[in-house]
């Protein structure tokens, strides 16, 4: 039995190793691209020993540093998208979890169905809409449109967290005479904090990674990083090392957030198991 289980464990570790190689390997390979000398980009066999160069990073972020303001723009858009997403999505999730809302199932599915709308087809109408209300090229335009992606996902995710908060706690507070908003703010909200954090993390990533909306909704001043990356993929040439540098910068913030807040991913995503 012990031998069998040890074999199984070894196999499990082996499988895990292969899986990590497959999913993390390409990321490492891309990070190496950003610091590679240009002549080793497509060398056969692939070159692993090289003198790292900061040339591409310097060009993209220092001089002329085209991508630095874009990094900032991406941050503004993603952070604001999260900030707007929470106050809209949490109450909806709470209501859908706690109350006998008529047509709850349909509302929930409607949220999800929104994700199926082809974003490319909506770009020009959105552009026209934003022009009408004078928001073209502003951060707000992008932040608003991003809600069509973040809210549906967030409501679904957060509803499951609210579902898992025992109603007894809220009831007890109600019996003590606390008002509704007090109950929600003081009792429920702290209990679903891991859920809020996980939801915000995903909302941040969805907004950060969206390339379609900024393509037409941003202006020269508010352009985000994925669009900047696209710029090196030009007709006359592809500056692979620049793409690498800009892309790594585009990859890092969401990755760091997920690494640093990993314990919330654990707590947040396993929240449902506590109640047993």
């Amino acid at each position: 039995m012990a031998v069998k289980s040890r074999t199984a464990d070894t196999l499990a570790y082996l499988a895990l190793g292969v899986i990590l190689l497959i999913f993390a390997g390409p990321i490492v390979w891309f990070i190496l691209l950003a610091i590679r000398p240009a002549q080793t980009v497509f060398a056969i066999p692939p070159v692993l020993h090289f003198t790292p160069t900061l040339e591409a990073i310097e060009a993209t972020f220092v001089h002329p540093g085209t991508n630095l303001p874009q990094l900032f723009n991406s941050l503004v858009v993603a952070v604001c998208a999260v900030a707007l997403n929470l106050p809209l999505a949490f109450p909806a999730a709470y209501a859908l979890s706690r109350f006998q809302v008529r047509g709850r199932k349909n509302i929930m599915l409607w949220y999800l169905g929104l994700l199926m709308a082809p974003p490319i087809a909506f770009l020009i109408p959105y552009f026209v809409l934003m022009s009408h209300i004078g928001l073209n090229g502003t951060y707000l335009a992008m932040v608003l449109i991003m809600q069509t992606i973040t809210i549906p996902f967030s409501v679904w995710l957060m509803k499951s967290f609210v579902d898992d908060v025992p109603t007894e706690l809220e009831e007890a507070a109600r019996v003590d005479g606390a008002a509704w908003h007090t109950v929600i703010l003081r009792i429920t909200l702290p209990l679903v904090r891991p859920g809020l954090i996980v939801t915000s993390m995903f909302a941040f990533v969805f907004a950060w990674n969206n390339a379609a909306f900024p393509l037409v909704l941003s202006s020269q001043r508010t352009e985000t990083l994925p669009i900047g990356t696209l710029g090196y993929f030009a007709t006359a040439g592809v500056t692979w090392t620049y793409i690498g540098a800009a892309a790594v910068a585009a990859m890092l913030p969401p990755m760091l957030i997920f690494l640093f807040l990993d314990r919330y991913v654990v707590r947040g995503l396993t929240f449902g198991s506590i109640k047993g």
Binding site: Y13, I22, P26, F42, P91, A121, M251, P254, G272
Partner: protein
Amino acid sequence: MSLRLDRPLPVSARLAWRAALLSRRRRLFPYLLIAPSVVLLLLLIAFPLFFALKNSFYFWNMQMSPMPLGFVGLGNYGMALHGPVFMVSLMNTLVLTVSGTALEVVFGLAIALLLCRELPGMSPARAILIMPTTIAPIVVGFLFRYMYQPDGGIIPWLLSVAHIPVPARGLLGSPITALPSIVLADMWEWTPFCAIIFYAALLGVPHEVIEAARLDGASAWATLRHVRLPLIARPLAFVTMLRFMQLFNTFDLVLVLTRGGPGSSTFTLGYMLYQQGLVDFNIGLASAMTWIIVLIVNIFITLFVFFVFKDAG
């Protein structure tokens, strides 16, 4: 996490809620909570849909004129359906969507089961595993284009080292391998996402239930099939639908990797819309295509609701 649509509240609690909610003002309360998000989303979705509906009946090609030139009835719809790439795009999209969703869910589940073994060192591995999902699809496109590069890319090189034949035209240049290469890139990004959600859901399955099944003499496979999977049916359905829909709109990957080629072997509906709307700027035609796609999408949503979510809520 349990992504169940509803969770039965204890009867006593439910009665207490009812009592608390009797007044009319309070009955409106939940709708007030839902309203802001629904109103915002309705506005943001309704405008483009009406915009597209109206313009789908007009001849409006911005290469010809900045303004619509006239009413053409269903002309745009006919042109869309009889155009050179619509049908093949639909087929490619279905192949991409169905195979991508199935593979991601199956591999995601397999990885989730592996993670469930809770061996030491699994936790940091899981933290690293989620990384591909945090990368922008357009960047994933660049990453795979870099790795697929016929002369000098690491994937053809690895395949040749392993003596696996690579098409002479390159992975993205051969009509047989181009679409699977796009599926592979998408799988790389989203399989971890499926895995983590399934993992979290599986953790929510009480140990006693699994233990009981095992004591009854059920094999590991039977336990999975008849006990664990039914208990995580909701997250499974949610992830399947989510991935299905996101894959249905695939555009970034095609734009960076193949631009629909070789021939029309990787044209997707999303890329076709991009071509019509943002390259050719044929607003009327693109609007008609949008509505055809919206109708197709609604068929799928109805199917999902009918077969998968029928007992929900």
